[in-house]
Amino acid sequence: MQKLELNRRNFIRTTLIGGAGLLTASSSFANDEEKLKSRPIIKRKLGKTGLELPIVSFGVMRVDSPALIHAALKEGIIHFDTAHGYQRGKNEELLGEILKDLPRNSFIIATKVQPEEQDRTTGKLGAASTSKAFLEKLDISLKRLNLDCVDILYVHALSTRDAVLFPEMLEAVTQAKKTGKAKFVGVSTHRNEPEVIQAVIDSNIYDVVLTAINYKQAHLAEVKKAIAAAAKAGIGVIAMKTMAGAFHDKERTQPINCKAALKFVMQDENITTSIPGIINFDQLTENASVNRDLTLTTKEQADLIIDKSQGSLYCQQCNQCVPNCRKDLPIPELMRAYMYTYGYRDVLNAQELIANLELPDNPCEICNNCKVECTQNFQVRNRIADVTRIKNVPEEFLI
């Protein structure tokens, strides 16, 4: 049998199980870790629910290792977020299996159930989105999770006020609470968040909102304003998508500074916790460290600023540029065509899109006073000049 040298993870594990004295931490890295561990976990209250949660929780979506969940619990992470639909229910089953032997009061479980019928484009709920169908799914989720009751039950992925206030959904979550199957109820949203959050406040039924928020959002100021209003109204606010996709590029080769992005969001004290996905021990270590130290270092701040100023190929379709164009050009569509051409190398799609817009060749050419400003700092005029040229590429070259 061989004993192995101290390493980063062993150090974390050993200190977690109270055996730090068995090993001697000699490196400065270990000393830094020790210092961090001596700090208390930062916790915040989740609105009026009375729950107090560490600022970093755990989105379980991509986990395949029970050891990772247990390691998270030892790190002080207690809130786990899953959904009825993840992996056709296998995600809930995995979590249920892992947590079944633990005291019920040692963890907080949140799951999300999607209304039966929802238009992906408009966000409208259809007639099949009944309370009955929703509650049947909840029963299935509870069975998978080996639980009688979830701590937080969300109506999943709503994007309009009407959907939030859809009578059948209000009835469903009210029933779920009344029958003791959910302690608290909420809504999750990653589109049109300010409107959704305001509807949650106005409902007087929901306790929590799980919202997308990150440093790259074009409408970040509006999202933060809505969050502040929710917090003031006693609604618990939980953040997701804090890492803005985790990569700069479509090919996922250029990672962003995820820790900085997470810290950035959690600077807002109106947000109780966040649910980043964690898939390995190193990520767990990194995210858990934010629970004890939320300070953005100079480098982290710089990384976020550089990221924002760089912009990217991907137009967020925020439409804020449109009123400033003197030629009333459909800029979001043109930026989409630019993205197809240079990002996805899909010129045919770009050409079709531009042809449908029925624009003259280089529509910016005769305008010398461009007032357009992009929230992502795109050089819009240059991009339009570049991309509209593909309109004249002979079709035979593309077939």
């Binding site: 993870r9 050891a67 992906r120 045919l348």
Partner: protein, 282 residues
């Protein structure tokens, strides 16, 4: 002016092949069914809009795009078809395997598929195809199968499961329990491209095979694993006990790392490891 010409030339040369592929819709036209195709084609940057938090897992498996269409017939039977295209056939198998369960009703379609109430999902080449119906009755179940066959034919992909699945010992293996985990197997960022299969219903355990690029990479990954452990025994087959995973037995063979998870019997561990290696050698 020069740069404009260069741009145009590069564009034409580089993209004519892509354009050819692009000209065909991934959806077949089917007699007596009216097809509506969603305008939006979801890609990695907006998959969230289509499937919310589930998108993260799809991205792990090199998701390329998602086309969505709806077939409706004169009897108002409505079938939604979602075509998830991934970079490789193994990627598509990976995401498919994450969502299938050995207890499902498997049917012969594509490389493999299953039919549940109002749902038919199948794997064909680098596509993971998901069909669903609002109504659930015998007529819709039949309709799901008809449309699946047409889509499979139209996509015209290879219809095979990854070859590496053949390396798992048959023994007490649960049928259709194999999974492919692209990254971070067991939570370790150096364990990627892992295949697992489940064995036995009573006192279950798993066999895993990690395929690396070459022997050097396999050795490095194993060394990283060993370094992470507090205590480890063995020299050829390494064994470690993790409180929440159980015993992990692990052995290097060429560019493969083979192992057994949570099997209490040392005889069984050895037997299945040996058999796995024999199968790889065949």
């Amino acid at each position: 002016m020069k740069s404009s010409k260069l741009f145009l030339l590069l564009l034409l040369l580089q993209l004519s092949v892509i354009a050819k592929n692009k000209s065909e819709s991934p959806f077949p036209l089917i007699n007596n069914w009216n097809l509506t195709v969603d305008e939006i084609v979801y890609e990695p940057n907006n998959l969230w809009d289509a499937i919310n938090g589930a998108a993260d897992l799809y991205l792990e498996y090199n998701f390329i795009n998602l086309h969505i269409g709806t077939y409706i017939n004169a009897d108002k039977i409505e079938i939604k078809a979602e075509l998830y295209r991934h970079k490789t056939e193994v990627d598509a198998f990976g995401i498919y395997s994450q969502e299938r369960d050995p207890g499902y009703n498997f049917i012969k379609i594509g490389a493999q598929g299953y039919l549940q109430e109002g749902v038919l999902n199948f794997l064909t080449g680098s596509y993971y195809v998901k069909l669903s119906a609002y109504q659930t009755n015998n007529i819709t179940q039949t309709a799901l199968q008809k449309i699946a066959v047409e889509i499979d034919k139209h996509l015209n992909q290879t219809r095979q499961l990854p070859k590496i699945l053949q390396y798992f010992p048959s023994g007490e293996k649960q049928l259709n329990s194999e999974q492919y985990i692209a990254k971070n197997f067991l939570g370790y960022n150096f364990f990627n491209n892992a295949y697992t299969a489940s064995y036995r219903k009573e006192q279950p355990f798993k066999v895993f095979i990690i395929e690396t690029k070459n022997e050097k990479e396999a050795k490095a990954a194993l060394a990283s694993f060993i370094k992470e452990q507090n205590e480890i025994v063995g020299d050829k087959t390494y064994e470690v006990t993790e409180p929440n995973t159980g015993i992990i037995a692990i052995r290097l063979f060429k560019h493969f790392i083979c192992g057994i998870l949570n099997c209490k019997s040392s005889d069984l561990r050895n037997k299945y490891l040996e058999q796995t290696i024999v199968n790889i050698q065949k």
